[in-house]
């Protein structure tokens, strides 16, 4: 039996249409008005408000929850929230994140608790902005900003390092490494009991 998927001929049925003597398109006078009707849409759009954005001269804000570039957040005294647990990397379906953990010491402390993320890279050539990493993060260290201008001219430039991703220091925040607030533990940090900058 013939394979039903194989076309019998390659004239797409035009021969059959010609034989049946059917018109190929509406060519009578009635159809002229039908075509005018189509141009009506074009006409009235000319008098409507223009939607074109003059990007990059003009940049419009994105939707509030737009998934843009990631940010590594800090506690109010400047210590990093990231504990280097790699759960973001684990959750990532595109294998875009690389994390390497390291131990905090009393002399050199980057985050409350024992562990911090020493290496933190996101490869934006791979990232699909799905946000699963944000859901996985146990300390809310990783969130997404609305920044979307991530194109660049080399591959290396779109692999963002930890210093590219860390939130900028706000007033009262101190650049780590520095000790935890006196008398506070990592649990206080986690519970949000740190107010203001370092030692008030």
């Amino acid at each position: 039996m013939d394979n039903p998927l194989t076309p019998r001929s390659n004239d797409l049925g035009l021969t059959a249409a010609a034989k049946a003597n059917k018109p190929i398109a509406n060519q009578d006078a009635k159809s002229f008005f039908a075509q005018l009707q189509g141009f009506w849409v074009t006409l009235i759009t000319m008098f409507k408000k223009v939607n074109t954005v003059q990007y990059p001269e003009v940049k419009e804000p994105t939707a509030e929850r737009f998934h843009g570039r990631h940010q590594l957040n800090r506690y109010d005294d400047g210590l990093e929230k990231c504990i280097g647990c790699e759960l973001c990397a684990w959750a990532c379906p595109a294998d875009a994140i690389l994390v390497e953990g390291e131990s905090n010491t009393e002399e050199e402390r980057y985050s409350p608790g024992e562990r911090y993320g020493k290496v933190y890279q996101i490869n934006y050539l791979r990232c699909i902005f799905c946000g699963l990493c944000i859901e996985a993060c146990p300390t809310r260290a990783l969130t997404m900003t609305n920044e979307y201008e991530l194109a660049d001219d080399t591959r290396a430039k779109v692999i963002f390092e930890k210093e590219d991703l860390l939130a900028p220091l706000r007033a009262g925040q101190l650049q780590p490494p520095h000790p935890m607030e006196a008398g506070k533990t990592h649990i206080d940090y986690y519970l949000g009991n740190i107010k203001g900058g370092l030692n008030g």
Binding site: G101, P138, T139
Partner: protein, 779 residues
């Protein structure tokens, strides 16, 4: 040992019992635990404390199941890890019994009450039995709303093991391992009730050579290794089965690689060798590769006396000029794989036309050469023979220090059935004490051996003239099984590959013309050199007096041989094949970089003579195995050895096969009584497991648990010298001296023992020999 293994090993009929588990019948040997019988059916009962190689304890209660025997049910669910099967037993696990399921969920809830929710920072996260089983059998939500018990964390119970007490579920696996397997009960459960915790004794640090196993068997993240802490997650790692390169025990290992670097090594599972254990050296000593400066490109010593980087063709051509037509020797070192050693052996015979090749980078004797070429390869004693032995005799061999897995096997039998152990050590070391070894001073004193006895001979026995001969005579007289256990992983394989002056590959004697013809035909060469070759010390001597012009050196540390070895190389052409810069590369004329164990495939032969094959762990490494480089060099010299890859070499070795003709006759030596006279003492020494060995470089946490060096002397000798325990004495020879604190042991007044290569006690470098007469005085 599980009953199944017992069945395999005794081969005696064992009563079989049939039980019904979840409606399925299973027949198992009598004595099998319910949890194991269920495993046989593929039914997984959750567990934490249960471990097939440890005695049952029923500590965690996670494996509760419903059991009825002869129609009578137990009133409450029972721990399946402590109850052996019985006839007419019906077991219902969590799969068929709601009671068991609820009991397990309840236990899990209890275990989680005080378990911290720090999985994100815990090294066990992702490979944690508690995480997994909480998901599979726990309640979805905890009803506990109180405050969790917390402890200070982590505390270092040794420099390499950290303890987070709040994560502990009190399964007692670590404490049982230390007591039952390693015999080092340094770790124990303290306090009671909710505050019960694992701890160490205040005055005894956790200085066990096997402490890494407690980290591996901990079912939660309570015990973690310092050097792996926070390094990676399981999903980052590429795991490769490998073999251990550190000693001749032959452990199966697992190497975990992340981005081209070894991050950790775990004990592999091989019930006929290391069971599921390994020693701390095998587990943690892998940073030697990254800690020292790696040789990355070929180097040639220029006219200015400095090494300069060169291209491969340039360096190979330079080396070929230096070797071609010259009188050259080959020093292989004891760490080469079987394939690499075969490459050196073939290179020496075909390209250099000499039998001047030796793998021994340590003190050695002609008696040993004769023993290795005539007897060693024919020895078939194995771990199984230790399991069945009625007596074990240790000669020149300290198992805990020199082959730790052999120690574990002996200790297992000592613990199980009070196996008698004899040792010729001068004093009872910690290992000997654990084995309750009886010390003998002379081999001739040993009697009462049977054909079930095992004589384990270490490489150090060759240092006493005549001792190897006495050991061989003892084995022949009593019918006892003899085994030769070298310290290094490559030594037995090197003998089998012919990396010794008296043997060609496969144990073919150089002195046997038909063996030479045999090998020459296989190698497609006209003939092989027949003149007797030199040993390591003879090669070095010949180099220094210009009887040899050149030498090819594999992984050799000159200070392992003698304190003059390095200076003996200075006047000759030295080709060094090395992984890192070393004392040899500092004097070499050409240095060629070679692959380390993780970067190549190959095999070792353990002391039993069985092959331990390993694959390349770092897949994208460009480093080449020694054999491949030797093959390139031989091509350049116009005398090809045709060993382009490790796989091709392995094929050639197996095609060549073993020698079936007669072996070299062992020529025994008369033993010499070397009695100390006057003020002099007889010095003996051996290497401790953790010492200044090259392969332990760069791992400070491991070095932190090394035993402190001290000199052992008898009580009356100490009194005579006027020193107390802990005070310094000075030990001197004509060559030099060293100072060590005294430790008083029960031993002969004429004996003194010091560690051979520990901090403050490098015997060859400081005293000039490893055994002999020394003067001792209060420092």
């Amino acid at each position: 040992m599980t009953p199944e293994q017992a069945l395999l090993e005794t081969e005696a009929p064992v009563e079989m019992i049939t039980v019904v588990i979840d409606g399925f019948e299973v027949t198992v040997p009598k004595g099998t635990l319910v949890i194991r019988a269920a495993e046989k059916l593929g039914i997984q009962i959750p567990r934490f404390c249960d471990h097939p190689l440890l005695e049952p304890v029923g500590a965690c209660r996670q494996c509760l199941v419903d059991i009825e025997i002869n129609g009578r049910a137990f009133p409450k669910p029972q721990a399946s890890c402590t109850i052996p099967v019985e006839n007419n037993m019906i077991v219902k696990t969590q799969l068929t019994s709601p009671v068991a399921e609820k009991a397990q969920a309840g236990i899990m809830e209890f275990l989680l009450i005080n378990h911290p929710l720090d999985c994100p920072v815990c090294d066990k996260g992702g490979e944690c039995p508690l995480q997994n089983q909480a998901m599979s059998t726990g309640r979805p939500e905890s009803r506990y709303e109180g405050v969790k018990r917390t402890f200070e964390k982590p505390i270092a119970i040794s420099s390499q093991v950290l303890l987070d007490r709040e994560r502990c579920v009190l399964c007692a696996r670590c404490t049982r391992f230390s007591e039952q397997i390693a015999g080092d009960p340094f770790i124990t459960l303290n306090d009671r009730g909710a505050l019960q915790q694992v701890g160490i004794y205040e005055n005894d640090p956790f200085e066990s050579y096997y402490s890494g196993n407690t980290v591996q068997i901990c079912p939660v993240g309570a015990l973690t290794g310092t050097s792996y802490r926070f390094r990676a997650r399981p999903f980052d790692l590429v795991s490769i089965d490998s073999a251990c390169e550190h000693c001749a025990s032959g452990c199966a290992m697992r190497t975990d690689i992340r981005r081209g670097k070894t991050l950790r090594r775990l004990a592999g599972d091989d019930s006929s060798v290391n069971e599921e254990w390994n020693c701390d050296k095998g587990r943690w000593a892998f940073k030697y590769l990254t800690s020292r400066e790696r040789v990355t490109t070929p180097m040639i010593r220029g006219a200015d006396g400095e090494l300069h980087e060169a291209s491969w063709p340039e360096a190979i051509a330079f080396a070929a000029v230096g070797l071609k037509g010259k009188r050259a020797g080959v020093l292989v070192g004891g760490r080469a794989t079987v394939e690499d050693a075969y490459g050196y052996s073939k290179f020496a015979r075909v390209a250099l036309g000499t039998n001047d090749i030796d793998f021994r980078a340590r003190p050695h004797s002609d008696e040993e050469t004769s023993f290795l070429s005539g007897i060693a390869l024919g020895l078939t004693t194995s771990y199984k023979d230790i399991d069945k032995a009625d007596q074990v005799v240790l000669l020149g061999f300290e198992p805990e220090e020199e082959s730790p897995i052999v120690f574990l096997r002996i200790y297992k039998q000592v613990r199980k059935r009070a196996l008698a152990v004899l040792s010729d050590a001068p004093f009872a070391s910690r290992g000997s004490v654990k084995l309750s070894a009886k010390l003998v001073t002379e081999i001739s004193e040993i009697s009462g051996l049977t054909s079930k006895s095992v004589i384990l001979v270490g490489e150090r026995l060759s240092e006493k003239t005549g001792a190897l001969s006495s050991a061989v005579a003892l084995a022949e007289k009593s019918g006892a099984k003899l085994a030769w256990i070298p310290r290094r992983a490559g030594e037995r394989g090197a003998i089998a590959s012919g990396a010794i002056s008296t043997l060609l590959p496969g144990g073919r004697p150089v002195s046997d013309a038909s063996a030479r013809v045999d090998v020459a035909a296989a190698w497609s060469v006209d003939s092989l050199p027949s003149n007797p070759g030199r040993t390591t010390s003879e090669i070095l001597l010949a180099l220094s007096v210009k009887n040899l012009d050149a030498v090819v050196i594999g992984g050799v540390d000159p200070l392992d041989i003698s304190n003059s070895a390095l200076s003996q190389l200075l006047n000759s052409f030295v080709l060094s094949l090395e992984i890192t810069h070393s004392a040899i590369t500092a004097v070499a004329d050409v240095v060629l970089p070679v692959a380390a164990v993780v970067e190549k495939s190959g095999s070792f032969q353990d002391w039993q003579g069985s092959s331990r094959v390993f694959e390349k762990a770092i897949a994208d490494s460009l480093s080449r195995s020694d054999v491949r480089i030797l093959s390139m060099l031989a091509d350049e010299m116009g005398t090809p050895i045709n060993l382009p890859t490790v796989a091709a070499t392995a094929r050639e070795i197996s095609a060549l096969g073993k020698w079936d003709g007669s072996a070299v006759k062992f020529e025994s030596a008369r033993s010499v009584k070397d009695l100390a006279t006057g003020d002099k003492l007889n010095l003996t020494s051996w290497r401790l497991l953790l010492d200044l060995g090259t392969l332990q470089d760069g791992e400070a946490n491991l070095a932190g648990t090394a035993r402190t060096a001290s000199a052992h002397i008898s009580n009356s000798r100490a009194e005579k010298l006027g020193v107390k325990a802990g005070e310094l004495i000075s030990i001197s020879t004509d060559f030099g001296s060293l100072e060590l604190p005294v430790e008083i042991s029960e031993m002969s007044d004429n004996e003194i023992w010091v560690p051979r290569n520990s901090i403050g006690s490098q015997v060859i470098a400081h005293l000039g020999f490893v055994s002999g007469q020394v003067s001792v005085a209060k420092a």
